[in-house]
Amino acid sequence: MNVRIAISTGSPTPIYRQIAEQVRMAIATGKLRIGDQLPSVRALAEDLVLNPNTVARAYTDLTRDGLIESRSGRGVFIIRKRKVFTREEGRRRLEPLLDALIGEAMAMDFTREELHDLFQKKLSHWKHEGGAS
């Protein structure tokens, strides 16, 4: 698996949800593709030092959402790349991030043109990666 899942304790987000969200995000950004294998519940639990039930809970949610599938004796696989959020929900989540980004940029005295160029550059880089579609 070319994605590293990292969790943090003490967060308002429960750990099982942190795991599920990271896998969803990795699928959405193309870091995980159809057919890629996830570590077994036991392996990920021991890697992240977690109760296996917590990892199982995350995998159950991802399975329910149709993103992963457990094939008996072989492991857990990504089966579908799909839109994680509706367009509307996506916008709702994206806008605060954009506001934060622009705010930071303004605070560091970036001009609109600079910001625009940086954004374009990043976008084209993502295209090469084949991530954004």
């Binding site: 429960p14 036991r42 109760n51």
Partner: protein, 309 residues
Amino acid sequence: MSDQPIIRTRGLTRYFAKKPAVYELDLDVPPGSVFAFLGRNGSGKTTTIRMLLGLLQPTRGQGQILGYDIRALPPEARARIGYLTEEHQLYRWMTVRECGDFQSRFFPRWNNKIFRGVISHFALKDGARVKELSRGERAGLCLALTLAPDPELLILDDPTLGLDPVARRSLVESMIYLTRRADRTIFFSSHQLADVERVADYIAVLDKSVLRASCSLETFRNSVKDVRLRFSGAPPALPEIPGLLQAFRSESELRLICVHYNQPAEQKLRALAPTSIETAPISLEDALISYLGERGEKSFILSEAEAQP
């Protein structure tokens, strides 16, 4: 694996002089679970554990452990329970290997592979003497001695007390490793909520000798919510809100920590005409601190069923 609780108490009570140390405790620990026993210092956790192990007689009430009455635990029951206490009892002059050899004679089911495994996990040297070991190394040795008899119930009384982060992590890793045996139950008391978050399926919260919550970790977390109300001016006086644990007031905001925040509670808050109401999840630590704060005298989360709004 039966569904009978591995530990079950009803009205378990212990007084010291005229003061209750544990009062009317009803506890059910499901088999195969990792169960965290939480509460402030002096809340009665150790007294409870000592009663469960038959080391202290209850003043009244009942308790069963592995199906046996805690007032008359037979040796065969004790052999199935591993107990790791706060104060580690070891002979200071023995070496690590000698400790293992010595302990193994008391346990017919002694598994030396487990002993060796834990010893190497904590990077202990066979020839090192107990008196030369660091606190973390001693904890590792004690854990190895507790685990080698392959107990089906493990009771750990504040196992990470005084351990450095590395030793603490090794201990938590060992606990995770132990869940490989699906019928093994781990009951542990702790103040380390990061560890609890990593390993616990269930939690129970004792406060001033009384059980205040007993449910799955997830239920507990879902039950405590951080509600923020914004106002155009100064926030109005707060009406009686059931399940309110804490309220913080600022110039134009009210922040409430609530248990079982539901429709009726929300309607009451809407009646205050805030410009916005936002509900957010809260970290385990914040939830527990609010729950154990001065305001909360009531018990809100005692069963899964109650937790449904």
